[in-house]
């Protein structure tokens, strides 16, 4: 990996591109620069959430504000853990199953919503119902899912081993760091590919005025469905990653309205209209809660979220384009 990083760094190109490559090289080298276990853990978590917020924003930025992405994350996370625990199915296959199931759910909900022109408030609230359905189903199936208490994947590491590829379990944080980094970068690439896709302009038109878009022959429902499937599948994979890394899932940490709103606001805080906006949102929330934790200690629960909530209100009123969106505009 070090060789790869140094090979990338001197690549010729425009100045901006070089800067990005240096940043990327620094990132790749991070575990080898004496980064402690706890900071590394924070970075992994931030990368996973950055990826998930990015997945949400891929459709959110086009006027499809979903309050239901907790459903997709929950499906991804629980599919992989349940298949492994109950049937010993490798998480790699479990991930495929979880993403497929999410796509199926997104297809059903998305097709119906777009076919019947459910947009704006109504779309937000229908998807909110979906995320609650998933959370409640997980709780109701408590005999298998552990209910509200959550569930831990069965340990797959032999004594002394630090990795089990089949079980997608790694005790070394460095491995997780590279996995999370790769997934996050993939998310950014998918965003760019979605932007370059011919339907991008159609989607922009749809987000501004559906009737007008339909009147010039844009297949509104089909175009919206495509981006919804992309977003839902990506989010489900984020759930897989979260479950395998955290090694614990509970209905309230991967599904339901609270997690759905967390995605919405993470993306909005950073700026959902720019590619790195959701990432900035995730980093911002993490930096905020860590700073406050250091300043006031661990015993005051909720202070970080109080400040975050107040900031969100101010953001939406005064800078609806988010932190990065506002900065880039200046």
């Amino acid at each position: 990996m070090r060789e790869a990083a140094s090979a990338l760094a001197p690549a010729p190109g425009r100045a901006l591109k070089n800067v990005w490559l240096v940043v990327l090289a620094l990132f790749l080298a991070l575990p080898w620069l004496g980064t402690g276990q706890y900071p590394l853990h924070l970075i992994i978590i931030a990368l996973i959430w950055s990826y998930i917020y990015t997945s949400w924003a891929i459709m959110g930025r086009l006027g499809m504000v979903s309050f239901g992405h907790g459903a997709f994350m929950g499906i991804g996370a629980y599919s992989v853990v349940l298949l492994w625990n109950l049937f010993g199915v490798s998480p790699w296959i479990g991930a495929v199953a979880g993403v497929s199931l999410s796509l199926l759910v997104a297809l059903l909900i998305g097709y119906a919503c777009f076919r019947f022109r459910i947009i704006g408030h109504y779309f937000a609230l229908v998807t909110l119902a979906l995320s609650e359905v998933v959370r409640l189903v997980i709780i109701a199936l408590r005999d298998h899912t552990g209910g509200s208490l959550g569930i831990t994947p069965k340990p797959g590491l032999a004594d002394g081993a630090s990795a089990n590829l089949y079980a997608m379990q790694f005790s070394d944080r460095t491995v997780w760091f590279y996995i999370a980094l790769a997934v996050w970068l993939t998310g950014l690439v998918l965003w760019k590919l979605a932007d370059q896709h011919p339907s991008r302009r159609a989607l922009q038109a749809i987000s501004e005025d559906e009737d007008a878009a339909a009147s010039i022959g844009i297949p509104v429902a089909r175009t919206k469905l495509g981006v919804t499937l992309l977003s839902a599948g990506m989010t489900a994979f984020g759930g897989v990653l979260y479950a395998q890394y955290q090694f614990y899932v509970s209905p309230d940490t991967v599904s339901g309205i609270a997690i759905s709103l967390q995605m919405v606001f993470g993306a909005i805080a950073g700026g959902m209209f720019v590619r790195l906006g959701p990432t900035v949102g995730a980093m911002f929330l993490l930096a905020l809660s860590e700073t406050l934790r250091i300043l006031i200690g661990n015993e005051h629960h909720g202070v970080d979220m109080t400040v975050y909530g107040a900031l969100l209100i101010l953001f939406i009123i005064f800078m609806p384009r988010g932190i990065l969106g506002t900065l880039l505009r200046r």
Binding site: F116, A129, E132, L136, A258, V264, G302, G309, I317
Partner: protein, 291 residues
């Protein structure tokens, strides 16, 4: 065996009816605000939570009689409704509609976290438990019956206010045509504030009724908030009668579904039914024509 089953089913149906009254009250304030201001207060359930905490603090913490604590909570949450509109909704009224939804989501986070900071994550209860009563083999909670009666009375009072007073008529008028009311000498800003105060006060009242039945904790809003929005949407956002009927339909799904299977399945069935209904009648069960 068959008759035993029936009487418990009847108990579930009647309990669903009682729950329906409470849910109807929960959705009334939210619906009124949407109908008039065209904004969904995602944080509505959190306002109810503040009301519940206010009562708990006044009664358990300060030793105030419940007869004083209840009206104090209604007034407090009513004022909070006005403040929410004036300081937070008003600045984004001209922005994209989804921003209005999102800004109240920020308020949801804020209030929930603030409650955690102030009251901690413990479950708090009033220490007041109203006795239950039996009819034949069926058992009912008097707190639920009281909530049902008060909720219906409050709904009737709101209805009369909207029908019989000048302000009420102005509120209804503005919900039908936003642009023409200033020409009729009605100040929309003032009507919005009054509506927000009423919506807040109804949330405060709901808090009074809920705190008699449930322990209060910072995340309690998340447990009945989603349900409240869905009832409003199913009834047709802003349609008060639709919301009223939808509340009873939802309550039956939850109560009977919970009786036949498990509590969570009752909710799951209710939510799935909601999603299905949205496809059948996206504008609500009593969709008004033309919109």
């Amino acid at each position: 065996m068959e008759s035993v089953f029936d009487i418990f089913l009847l108990e579930a149906v009647l309990n669903g009816l009682l729950l329906g009254g409470l849910l109807a009250l929960l959705s009334l304030g939210l619906n009124l605000i949407f109908g008039v201001i065209d904004v969904v207060w995602i944080c509505y359930a959190e306002l109810i939570m503040i009301g519940m905490y206010a009562i708990w603090w006044l009664h358990v913490g300060q030793g105030l009689s419940l007869w004083l604590a209840f009206p104090a909570a209604v007034v407090l949450v009513g004022l909070m409704g006005m403040a929410l509109h004036y300081f937070i909704i008003r600045p984004v009224l001209a922005a994209e509609p989804i921003n209005q939804l999102l800004v109240t989501g920020g308020v949801l986070f804020f209030l929930q976290a603030l409650a955690t900071v102030i009251f901690g994550i413990d479950f708090r209860n009033l220490g007041v438990r109203l006795p239950g009563f039996s009819v034949g083999d069926m058992y009912f909670s008097s707190a639920r019956l009281l909530a049902f009666a008060v909720a219906l009375a409050a709904i009737a009072a709101t209805w009369l206010f909207l029908r019989r007073t000048f302000t009420g008529v102005a509120i209804r008028a503005i919900s039908q045509d936003r642009s023409i009311m200033p020409l009729m000498g009605v100040n929309p800003g003032r009507i919005y504030l009054v509506t927000s105060a009423i919506g807040g006060a109804l949330a405060g009242l709901a808090g009074c009724l809920l705190v008699l039945q449930y322990d209060v904790h910072p995340a309690i809003g998340l447990s009945f908030g989603p349900l409240t929005f869905l009832i409003c949407v199913m009834g047709g956002l802003g349609n008060l009668i639709g919301g009223f009927v939808a509340a009873f339909v939802f309550a039956q799904f939850i109560s009977v579904g919970g009786f036949l299977f498990q509590l969570e399945w009752g909710y799951v069935i209710a939510f799935v039914f909601f999603i299905a209904m949205m496809f059948w009648r996206p504008q609500g069960i009593f969709a008004r024509s033309g919109r």
